[in-house]
Point group: C2
C-alpha cells in the first residue's frame, strides 16, 4: 500500500474520472477539479463524436470492477456498414464471431463515470478554473479570469487530465528540454443526428458503425441507447466539397441528395443541425516528457491528443491508467520512478496510435469504398481464420488485443508489405482463396 | 510608396533591427521594443556562438546600403581547418577562390545594427517587457511582471522578431489552426575562449572555421576582430563523453588533453570558463501560419528557430526581410496580401534550412574526420570546377547563392545519390579524377 497523498486530478472527463477512482481505491485523498460546470447538470452537446470502447478500455474498467456498469450503457458494434454512393450497402466485420466494439454516448458515459467516482469517495470541484500550476511544488492556481485574482491550491501530486488544450502541459511547455507539437488537420467535423423511431427503435442497424465513404470526406453514424444515432460529417474546411462550400440551405440539401441519398429519410433536421452546430477542429498533440519530478504528470489527451479515426482516444487514455497502476504496484512510494517508468512505457505507444489514427482517415473515407481494398481485407481474414497463429489483422491487434500499439503498428506495416505482393498476383480476384495464395503468404512470412 | 503606419518591432536582435531600418526607410514610424537592456550598455556574454554572414545576409544588407559598414567588423573565412585527434590539420575550402563567409561577433554586430537603426530614425524602447499581444488590433501588453499591472500599446502593425521563445508566437499558438512544434536536441553547447596574442594578433589562422570533430561531439572556433576566438563546445548532455561526465577540474583537463591536445596552449582559461559559463540548449521551432490578418507577423527565429550547424540562423532571418520587402513592393498597402505572400514564400525554405542545419551536425562533428567523406567532397569540387554549369555543391548553393533553400535541399539530395554511386566505383581512391568518373557523373546526371 502506498503512503496516502493529497492528489489533484485536473479535468473531469473520462480519463480524469477513471484515474480518480483508481487513486481513491489506493487510499489517497482525491480532488477532481474542472473549469466547466458538472456535466450532469447541463445539456450535452452539438460537437461530439460517439465513443467506441474496445479491449484496452475494458481492461482498465475490468481491473477495477466497473465493466458491468458500463456495458449496460453501450451498444455492441461488430462491423462497418458501408453505404456506397448508389445506396448499396456492404458489411465488413471487425473481427471474429463475437468480437465487437461498444458505441457509447460521450455525455452518458461521462455522467455515469462521475457518479461512480463520487460513490467511490472522490470529491469534485466544478467551475474551478485552473490557469497555471507551479511544477516545483504541485500548486494549482485558480481564479475567475486569467488576469484576475488567483487562489493557490497546494497538493502532493497533480495529474493533468485536462485534454488536448491542457493548462498543465501549457506550463510544462515552457520548460527547457520539453518537446511539443500541435498539428491541426485541414479536415473539420460537424455533429448531425438520426432520431429514434416513434417506438424508440433504431432507424438503421444499431450494431454497425455506418460509413458513407466519399474519398476526401465521409459521413459516419454510431448508435445511442435511446434509439438515436450520433452522426459525424468529416470534410475539408476549404475546397470543392468542403464546409466552406456548403454555405446555404439549397447547396447543403443538394449536396446530401447527391452524395448521401439514403440519409434523406433518416436525418430530418439536417438543415437546422448543420447551421446550428459548430464546425469543430481536429488536432494532434505530442509532447515529452509527460511528468515533472515526482509531483506532476500528464495523462490521456493532454499527453497525446489524437484524431478520432481509429476510435482509440479514450482507449489509449484508459490504457495510460492501466500502465500507471502497474508502475504504482511495482515502485510503491517512489513516485519519481513510477512517473519515469510510466512515460517511458507509454510514449512510443502513444506515438504509434497517433500514427495509426491519422492513417485511418484515408482507410475509412476512401479505401472502404475500394474493391481492391475490400478484397485485401477479405484475404487477410480468410488467411487469419485458417492460421490464427500466423496472422492477426492490424485492426484486431489494435482493437481486440492488448499488444502494445507500437508493436501492432510495426507488425501491421510488415503484413501490409506482404499483402501488397499478394495483391499483385495474377488473377488475384479469382484465386484469392486458393492454396497458391496461402503458400505465398506463408513463404513471405518466413522471409 | 506605402501609407505610413505605426509599427512595433518586438525584439532588438539582428533581424529586428534590420527590419526596423527597412520599415523606417519605407516611411513608417518604427518602434523597437525589447525586454532586455540596451546591449550597447551591458557586457555581452558567455553564451554566444559566433555568427557567419553569407550571401543571403549580405543581399539584405546590400539592398539597403549597409554592406560596407558591416564588412568592416567581419573577418573572411574561406575554409574549414579540421583538427584531427593526432593534432594533424586538414583544410577544406568552402567554395571557389575568393568565396568566403564572414565571422562576426554577435555582440559587436548587434550594437552596430542598433546604432545604424537609430541613425536611420528608428526609436528604441529597452526594458519594455512584452507579455502578450492582442492579435485582432495589434496591441502590445507590457509590464514589470507577467501577473502585475500591464500597459497597452496600440500599433497598426506588430512584428514579432523576438526569437525562439517569442511571446508574440506564444499568443498565436493559442489560435485554432496554428501548427507549432518545439524540439530540443540532446546536444548542448558551451562558450570557451581563445585570447589574442599580446600584440593583438590571432593565435591560430583567423581565416578558417576551426573544427575539432570527434564523432558525437566537437569543438569549433571562429575569429573575432580583437584577435581572440569565440570557441563553442558541442556535446551531449548525458552519456559517456558529455557535459554531465565533465564534473570536476581533473576530468575536464584530462578530457581536453585526450581529445583536443592542441588546444592546451591556446585556451588558458579552460577550467574557469567551463565551470562559469552556462551549458546552453539547442532547439528547433517550427510553426504556421506566421501572420495574423493584416496586422501581426513573425520573422526570423520566432517563426523558424534552427540549430546553428549551417551558420544560417541570421542569414535565413535576413532573407525573410528581403522577401517581405519584395512583397511590399508588389502589394503596396494591401498588408494582408503582403503577409500571405511572405509566409507562403518563406515557409518551405525555412523548413529546408532547418533540415539542412540539423543534418550538418553529423557532417561537422563526424564526417569531416572521415577520409571517404573528404574524398567525396574533393570529387564534387573537381567535377564542379570542370563543369560549373552541371554541378554546384550543396554548401555553395546554400551559402554562396540565393537559390531558395528548398531547391538547394532537393538538388543536394539528388546529387548525394549520384555521389553514393560514384563512391562505390572500384578503386575510387585512385581513379577519382579520371575521365571514367567524369563520364559516370555526367551519365547519372542525365538520368
Amino acid at each position: 500500500m502506498q503512503t496516502p497523498q493529497k492528489i489533484a486530478v485536473v479535468g473531469s472527463g473520462l480519463v480524469g474520472t477513471l484515474l480518480a477512482i483508481y487513486l481513491k481505491k489506493l487510499g489517497h485523498t482525491v480532488h477532481v477539479l474542472d473549469r466547466s460546470p458538472d456535466i450532469r447538470t447541463v445539456e450535452f452537446s452539438g460537437r461530439s463524436i460517439n465513443l467506441v470502447m474496445s479491449n484496452r478500455g475494458w481492461k482498465a474498467l475490468e481491473d477495477i470492477g466497473l465493466t458491468e456498469e458500463i456495458k449496460k450503457i453501450g451498444i455492441p458494434v461488430d462491423k462497418r456498414a458501408i453505404h456506397l454512393k448508389d445506396s448499396k450497402l456492404n458489411y465488413q466485420y471487425y473481427g471474429k464471431e463475437g468480437e465487437a466494439i461498444y458505441s457509447l454516448s460521450r455525455g452518458v458515459l461521462n455522467r455515469k463515470m462521475i457518479d461512480l467516482a463520487e460513490a467511490a469517495g472522490v470529491e469534485f470541484f466544478f467551475e474551478h478554473r485552473i490557469w497555471d500550476v507551479t511544477l516545483a511544488d504541485a500548486t494549482l492556481h485558480i481564479g475567475e479570469t486569467e488576469r484576475g485574482e488567483w487562489t493557490d491550491l497546494k497538493y502532493d501530486k497533480v495529474f493533468g487530465a485536462d485534454g488536448a488544450f491542457s493548462r498543465i502541459r501549457h506550463r510544462m511547455q515552457r520548460q527547457s528540454m520539453f518537446n511539443y507539437s500541435q498539428e491541426f488537420l485541414n479536415i473539420g467535423y460537424k455533429e448531425l443526428h438520426i432520431p429514434a423511431n416513434p417506438d424508440g427503435s433504431h432507424k438503421i442497424d444499431k450494431n454497425s458503425l455506418h460509413i458513407w465513404p466519399r474519398g476526401n470526406f465521409m459521413l459516419m453514424a454510431l448508435a445511442n441507447l435511446d434509439g438515436s444515432f450520433t452522426c459525424t460529417l468529416f470534410m475539408p474546411f476549404e475546397g470543392e466539397n468542403s464546409f466552406e462550400s456548403l454555405k446555404d440551405e439549397k447547396t447543403l440539401v443538394d449536396f446530401f441528395a447527391e452524395f448521401f441519398p439514403d440519409t434523406k429519410e433518416v436525418i430530418p433536421d439536417l438543415v437546422r443541425d448543420f447551421f446550428k452546430n459548430p464546425t469543430s477542429y481536429l488536432v494532434m498533440m505530442k509532447c515529452f516528457p509527460w511528468t515533472h519530478a515526482d509531483n506532476v504528470a500528464l495523462i490521456g489527451d493532454s499527453a497525446h491528443a489524437i484524431v478520432p479515426f481509429y476510435g482509440h482516444g479514450m482507449n489509449a487514455g484508459f490504457e495510460d491508467i492501466t500502465v500507471l497502476n502497474e508502475m504504482i504496484a511495482k515502485y510503491g512510494d517512489d513516485w519519481e520512478a513510477i512517473f519515469k517508468a510510466y512515460e517511458k512505457s507509454r510514449k512510443p505507444n502513444a506515438d504509434a496510435i497517433a500514427e495509426l489514427s491519422y492513417r485511418n482517415f484515408m482507410e475509412m473515407s476512401a479505401k472502404t469504398a475500394d474493391e481492391k481494398f475490400l478484397l485485401q481485407k477479405k484475404i487477410e481474414k480468410w488467411f487469419s481464420d485458417k492460421h490464427p497463429d500466423l496472422w492477426m489483422p492490424l485492426y484486431s491487434r489494435v482493437t481486440f488485443s492488448l499488444q502494445p500499439y507500437s508493436e501492432a503498428l510495426a507488425i501491421g506495416d510488415f503484413q501490409n508489405k506482404i499483402m501488397e505482393e499478394v495483391m499483385q498476383m495474377e488473377n488475384i480476384e479469382t484465386i484469392w482463396d486458393s492454396e497458391v495464395v496461402e503458400q505465398k503468404i506463408i513463404s513471405l512470412l518466413s522471409k
